[in-house]
């Protein structure tokens, strides 16, 4: 195709939200509530915000009502700190845990269909790592809507954004961020149906593009979770924080890795090996099946490695059992209706009668684009990028450090979305209209698309994608070590190079699925490189990052990793200190917020 790629049109707005999932639209709704005249445009890859990945979240959203007679926000803060393996930021922990209940009430009053107690109040259930009295016994802290809490949350923030007149542009990708003198002034986007590039000029831009786990062979993530936001941030010279912190959820349904919520274990389900032994008792004597996800995932893999797993013929994959047979019928049919149906539909087992095959599945990135506690993106620990904000899974504030507790993600999306919205409102007071497009706007994506459309190569998209996913699963997965990580980095360079030689199926820009997927594949390889590099540099084990050659946590690594990669392979590292403000304030039981030993 000889045709020159150009920007087709330019749209202006006050706030551009890239990614219309839970966090992006909570921010949008917050801004619209506080400053109704704001012109907000929210972009999404899918056809409607309702189809965002947030909607697949199942189990709940953690939040403590400050008037709760048993539970306290302080216990929640401690659990989050301990769960993170002492690597989350305490200023963010405090802020988010304190705000949680207010946001539950906001969701409820704006129409979310929470499950209820007999008294008609929002019901709660236990979840992994959430405990009373600093780790004494399990806490019921996760507010939920059956096992479709994410859908309830997503519908509510989507509906509210709709109510306030936020404009949505679907079926599009943001391909590069635009800057003027270091101030972010919007982004270039590409629309799938028409195959056109549009420049979006905005006073403030919020990145909320979500996760990236599609680089793993087994993942709970949507087809579109390809780390696009992270890749465009890297291209813009911004760092990623803690990219090595990948969460593997212990119970993916064997095969594709569809999520089987921790709520199953919250309601009493038990993991068993091939001898039907409830093996978690050996790994976490107190918390057992409700230990944090990193511990449970490693325990499952340990069972499989030592020959106590099983083999699923249909999916040709190893697994252990999740036992739900003893749970009351009501739990199967109402509280866990969706997940129980997944086992029936996708693997043909009836959880009321049969054991269910599960194995860990790549689920969540704890790291992401570094922000401060207000959602402002940082270029380095002391410098923010004016006009650019980030919240939700794509961002690292960091609430989760190197391991996230279940139901803290929904909490983070909503509270940090709201906090970021407030900060954007403050920012808009003094911000100016962007003065026109930078002359080179679009050059990154034009270059990427032209390379593909004009490629004469013979490489196969499918082979590169499958090699990447197998590579990441085997060498940058739950268990890591120096040699395989170095091998992975070399292989990633090779895959990146091969990806420039995929021949186009069609040179058309209209709804060209292949073009879109090759662009995503490049993002996956880019982000995979930062994960592997971060994992190689962190010579310790902490949270979801486990090094077999350095199996203990080390105080030497009490910091966040920052990785820069403005061009593929050109890596630079920096560090960000872990915020210890709860510890330093010397309040009640502050000693527990030191670098404590982590046992469950």
């Amino acid at each position: 195709m000889g045709e020159k790629l150009t920007i087709d049109s330019t749209l202006t707005c006050d706030v551009l939200v890239i990614g219309a999932g839970g966090a992006g639209l909570r921010a949008a709704a917050r801004i619209a509530e506080k400053r109704p005249e704001t012109k907000i445009i929210a972009l999404t890859k899918v056809v409607s915000p309702q189809k965002s990945h947030t909607t697949t979240s199942q189990g709940g959203m953690a939040a403590v009502d400050p008037r709760d007679p048993e539970d306290r926000p302080l216990f929640h803060m401690f659990d989050t700190w301990k769960g993170s393996d002492c690597s989350a930021d305490q200023n963010v922990i405090k802020k988010v845990c304190d705000l949680g209940w207010e946001e539950i009430v906001w969701l409820e009053r704006h129409g979310m269909h929470f499950s209820r107690t007999e008294q008609g109040r929002v019901a709660k259930r236990p979840f992994g790592g959430h405990m009373l009295n600093f780790g004494e016994k399990k806490a019921s802290r996760a507010c939920f809507e059956a096992d479709r809490t994410g859908k309830g949350i997503m519908d509510t923030v989507w509906n509210e954004s709709l109510k306030y007149g936020v404009s949505f542009i679907g079926q599009c990708i943001a391909t590069e961020l635009l800057f003027n003198n270091g101030v972010c002034i919007g982004a270039v986007i590409f629309r799938y149906p028409e195959g056109k590039f549009i420049a979006m000029l905005a006073k403030a831009t919020i990145m909320a593009t979500g996760g990236n786990a599609r680089m793993y062979l087994v993942t709970s993530n949507c087809r579109g979770n390809t780390g696009d936001g992270l890749a465009i941030a890297l291209h813009a010279g911004l760092p990623l924080m803690d990219p090595e912190a990948v969460q593997f959820h212990p119970t993916g349904i064997v095969g594709p890795g569809i999520l089987a919520s921790e709520a199953l274990r919250g309601e009493g389900a038990i993991l068993r090996n091939k001898d039907e032994e409830p093996f978690m008792e050996r790994y976490a004597p107190t918390a057992k099946d409700l230990a944090p996800r990193d511990l449970v995932s490693r325990a499952i893999m340990q069972e499989i490695r030592e020959g106590r797993g099983l083999y699923h013929e249909g999916h040709r994959a190893q697994h252990v059992w999740l036992d739900l047979r003893h749970l009351p019928k009501e739990v199967h049919e109402k509280k866990l209706q969706e997940v129980c149906s997944f086992f029936k539909r996708f693997v043909g087992v009836d959880p009321q009668k049969d054991l269910c095959p599960v194995a860990p599945t790549a689920h969540y990135q704890m790291g992401g684009i570094p922000t401060n506690e207000f959602g402002e993106v940082q270029r380095d620990p002391n410098l923010i990028v004016p006009g650019l904000f980030a919240c939700g899974e794509v961002a690292a504030a960091s609430l989760h450090g190197l391991n996230r507790l279940g139901t803290n993600s929904m909490l983070e999306l909503i509270t940090m979305g709201s906090v970021t919205g407030d900060q954007v409102v403050a920012y808009l007071r003094d911000s100016e209209e962007p003065q026109g497009l930078p002359p080179d706007a679009g050059h990154i994506v034009f270059d990427q698309f032209s390379t593909y459309i004009n490629s004469q190569g013979t490489e196969s998209y499918a082979q590169i994608r499958d090699s990447l996913r197998t590579l990441m699963q085997e060498k940058v997965g739950i268990f890591r070590a120096e040699k395989p990580l170095i091998e992975a980095i070399e292989k990633l360079k090779e895959l990146k190079e091969k990806a420039t030689r995929i021949p186009p199926g069609t040179a058309s820009l209209h709804a060209n699925q292949d073009l879109w997927q090759v662009w995503e594949l490049n993002n996956l390889i880019t982000v995979s490189m930062t994960i592997a590099q971060g994992a190689l540099a962190r010579q310790e084990s902490r949270g979801g990052h486990y090094r077999e050659d350095y199996p203990a946590r080390s105080d030497e690594f009490n910091y966040h990793t920052l990785v820069y990669m403005p061009r593929f392979g050109e890596i630079a590292f920096d560090k960000r200190p872990i915020d210890m403000s709860i510890f330093k304030a010397q309040g009640e039981r502050y000693e527990l917020f030191d670098y404590i030993e982590r046992k469950y």
């Binding site: 056809v47 409607s48 909607t55 269909h113 109510k163 199926g505």
Partner: protein, 236 residues
């Protein structure tokens, strides 16, 4: 379970560049436990990278991958090869795009346009009841929620709207109408009159002929026609 099937997919193609439409046949060897989305991916990988189809979550939670398989609208992510062979008693399947929105390419339709109808009924609380005195959440008994909770499981995949025998040009459609009825049943909504006006207007619930096709095809097994019947009777 790990049986290998050889199936033929006869897929509706549409090329927006040439404005041509045709049926293309693909023969695929697939394990019985694979989903139709896996089969479509296999076609892309091994035979034809240009075949376009839509999906997102691929486990029946988002409703992006609706297609018409042998005349029945369903989610491609939920249909396993072995179940398809059993349900339709054939190894040949015709795959058509949903008919409720313009086709963008092949099996991809512009659901953004279909969503207009959902937006029209205002799925949010138009006028929420004043907050309770305690200043926190509304109290709603589990029995009250039970009356409409099934309807809140709708993911707007538009399978029901595709199956509906009332023309979608003249009807808001089963899913959008049901979303309106949910808010009529929701004790927190006070804008009941506005909602009833939408419910009973020209393209409202009386367009429904009670064929129950919606309930029959709903991938979430929601009894949509039950809610539409409540709407017709005014029993919210």
């Amino acid at each position: 379970m790990s049986d290998l099937y050889v199936i033929t997919l006869e897929i509706s193609r549409y090329d927006p560049d040439t404005n041509l439409s045709w049926i293309q046949s693909y023969q695929v060897e697939a394990r019985g436990i694979l989903r139709f989305v896996d089969v479509l991916r296999k076609i892309n990988d091994e035979q034809d990278p240009t075949l376009a189809w839509a999906s997102s979550c691929e486990h029946a939670q988002c409703g992006s991958c609706g297609i018409i398989v042998n005349g029945k609208p369903m989610l491609a992510c939920e249909l396993l090869v072995q179940n398809a062979v059993a349900e339709f008693n054939t190894h040949t399947f015709s795959l058509r795009p949903l008919n409720i929105a313009p086709v963008i390419r092949d099996l991809v339709v512009d659901l953004e346009k279909a969503y207009d109808k959902v937006h029209q009924i205002k799925p949010y609380l138009i006028k929420p009841a004043p907050p309770p005195e305690q200043g926190d959440e509304y109290r709603i008994s589990p029995e009250t929620v039970d009356k409409y909770v099934e309807a809140t499981r709708c993911i707007n995949c538009f399978c029901c709207a595709t199956a509906c025998i009332s023309s979608h040009r003249h009807f808001l459609g089963p899913n959008a109408t049901m979303a309106n009825i949910v808010r009529l049943m929701d004790p927190r909504e006070t804008a009941k009159e506005e909602r009833m006006e939408t419910l009973y207007r020209e393209d409202g619930v009386y367009r429904c002929h009670t064929s129950r096709a919606c309930s029959f095809v709903c991938p979430k097994e929601i009894d949509i026609s039950h809610f539409l019947a409540l709407g017709k009777e005014g029993r919210f």
